[in-house]
Amino acid sequence: MNFICNFPCFSIVLCIFGGIISSALKGRAAKYLNAFILAVVAVMSACVLGYTLQTGESFTYVMGRFPAPWGNEIRAGVLEGGMALFFSLIMILSLFAGREKLNEEVDPEKMNLYFIMINLLLSSLLALVYTNDLFTAYVFVEINTISACGLIMIRQTGRTIEAATRYMIMSLLGSGMLLMGICMLYDMTGHLLMENIHANVQILAESGQYHIPLMVTIGMICVGLAIKSALFPFHTWLPDAYGYSTVSSAAILSSLVSKGYIFLLLKIIYRVVGFDVIYGSRVTDILFVFGLAGMIMGSLSAIKENDIRRMIAFSSVAQIGYIYMGFGLGTQVAVVASVFHILSHAATKSLLFISASGLVDASGGSKKFIDLTGSGYRNKIAGVAFSVGALSMVGLPLFSGFISKLLFAQAAVRNSGKMLPTLIVLAISTILNAIYFMKTVIRIYTPVESEYPVIPVKRHKVFGLAMVCFIALNVFLGLCSDLVIRLIETGLSMFA
């Protein structure tokens, strides 16, 4: 038993304790503690990734001394390690970039609360990534929800509280369905550990008994997670939640939280119900249709939007539509595409949110387009970053967005049944993306005759550094996609 095998558990526990400790700390201390924890977690995840790559197979870690099928397990493979590393990196960068902004928006004595939330969020994300036990997953889903709610309402304005409430309600609906689904699975299989459930589900599927309950269960779980990750018809809470919370929160929420649920869904598809069973049922077609709808509707409402942050939020509705569309296509290739899109969207969306906030600050804090005119000149780095993010979203070559578009399209072509709708919708949504993102880019680079009262952008260094890192990440995903994709494939192969 290699020592590294303890890392997943360590990282989770570390985060939780970090949260507990920072409740006793002052804001700054909590901040540094959090930074430290994040760094450690990143290193640990990197180690896990390296280890699994090296051994070439995943490992399970038994909590306590109870072996399966009773005990509670943690399981780590290439994909888990990679995800954990990626999540922690994004989180570091977002916090780093949003730091100064945070000091403005959150009053100092509440600062440590913020970091409690961050720590808990990270822990729950890690747990969602690593856990091998459905009920644990449920528990951490709830923790995730709660901490996310905290992140949203940390600014204490009416908007944010209202947004938080809506968010809570929607996600409670989701988690209720999820819990029900889990219980029914337990009912049918008598297990909570993924492998065992998987085995039993296979037996059930072959014997054909409990067919309807099985379908209902799958449906409940899928829909539940879809609600929590803001798939199109259930996205109503999203724009407010992302649009009005502090910038780091928005970045983290949009790029990580929903992704955690999606990753859980992925695990359920592969490791609990089983790929063939789930695609044998037509449940995924629902996801497919909703995904397509989301791609269009999200973009349309983004076009109508007049507030840059809300616009970006709506665009992430569309992007989540992409991911579910990939799941719905129901081929290995498509799932790979989806996973890649999880990464690229996470990188791009946080970049967009943060650069947008930079532009907003350069325009006297107004988020309306009309005031953003020419802000690209006033805050150069933010302007460049935003343009990069926008281009990546539009799917321009050499950026990450292009690769995921490519993969999606290839997957679509290989699936003859759903090919044409997918391709058409891809093309259309490309145009729509182009419309609203390019409109914004042109807007921010349009010089204004009346010299704008420019606010001195003080947080330039930190901000710029973070931006550069994000851009680098984006371009890396765009250029070295081959490596990433091979990682994903190996990870998925470890799943099955």
């Binding site: 281009l391 321009l396 070559p397 072509v413 182009a434 419309i435």
Partner: protein, 496 residues
Amino acid sequence: MNPIFLLVVILIPLLGGVLIPFLPFRSRKQFEIYTEVVVIMASALVFLLMLKRPSDPFTLIYFTGDLTISFRMDGLSMVFGGMIAFLWPFATLYAYEYMRHEHNPVGPRHERSFFCFYTMTYGITLGIALAANMLTMYCFYEMLTLITVPLIMYTMSREAILATRKYMYYSLGGAGFAFIGLIFMIVYGNINFQYGGTLNPDLIGNRKNLLLLIYVMAFFGFGVKAAVCPLNSWLPQAGVAPTPVTALLHAVAVVKSGAFAILRLTYFCFGITFLRGTWAQYLVMTAAMITIVYGCSRAVKETHFKRRLAYSTISNLSYILFGATIMTPLGLTAALAHMLFHGIMKITSFFCAGAVICQTGRTYVTQLDGLGKKMPRVFGIFALSSFALMGVPGLCGFISKWYLASAAFESNQVLACFGVGALLISAILTAIYMLTIVIRAFFPKQGFDESSLEGIHDPGLYMLIPLFVFSAVIIYFGIHSVSLLDFLTKVGNGLI
């Protein structure tokens, strides 16, 4: 030569352009010299490469799987690249004098950035010319769209920005559909250009009609840049750009790269054996014919000088497409010939228009009375170019028309014969809209007072030198095109 030079020749203008805003130029002179040197270096290298062609491609990046960014120089690239390389230095020279007169909203650095993008566009266009596979071409195609955006909205006037948006939406949307074609090539064949097409027959099976549909999609997708009906309304609107842009980009580089892409698509990806005689061919050919007539008739109605030329560009581009859609080797030859010759003729006439604008500030045809006496050289050359456009024998326009027509008759298709009819109708319309200008300029109405034209005279050498050179070329190729056409015939038969 070493294949690496294929990359170098693209990088020279790109990097040279990027540096322009950062280099400390003491005087305008230095800056002009620098730019000119960069451009000429690139052109010289292109011609060198054409003389000593590197046989094997150069691969820059590996995307996923077998998708690469790689460059190769084959016959088609030689034609397109050669044309670009010949025109660009002169256009730059012209731009120096023109941009002095152009209204400059932001400041001296703005003009620098104009030349920065102008030079970078050169590199991008070369990239399109030298692309060895469809993915590479697609990437540079997208980049071309973006890099030209700042050029179009140089004046930053409201209409300029509107035009830019339109241009961007159209192009990116078109690229979205071209993208579908790309995907299909990836799946149903391979993307490396190869004369005669790369579709894999045993993959096609019963999907023939589907693939034809995709071809049509991709045709119109690329056709957006080639301004094929009904996707061409962006081109006249983009005429608000400074004339060097309208002349070089919207008469040669950008629009021709659209046509070039269609040639690649038709002859090097899907392959004429697959397409000939199918409904797809008839569809696209009809579209081309409609555009030919449509563009001319709009040009006759238009009274804005540059916009009229833009409409004529629309119809002439469809001459090229018509040649392409005949789908015989001779057709390709004819298309290439017209690509070259129209490039020269149209840039000449645009430069004349630009000279008029920057000497007199007159933009409408109705304002040109009697200018022929004041600017004899400019209008003499303009008359020459319009005769060439009409296809008077002894000037180069006739040659390409001749080849187009003979290709049409060779192909034994009734539709093609009607196409010849379309060519002639557009020729008479061309006569109408060009000669009315010439007559106005040289034969003003009786009792027209010369005094209103006091102080108007021919522009300086920067503008005249390109004009003289181009008109010399027009005449030369009009009376001695044999060797060139032999080369083009070789290219058309895929021998080079």
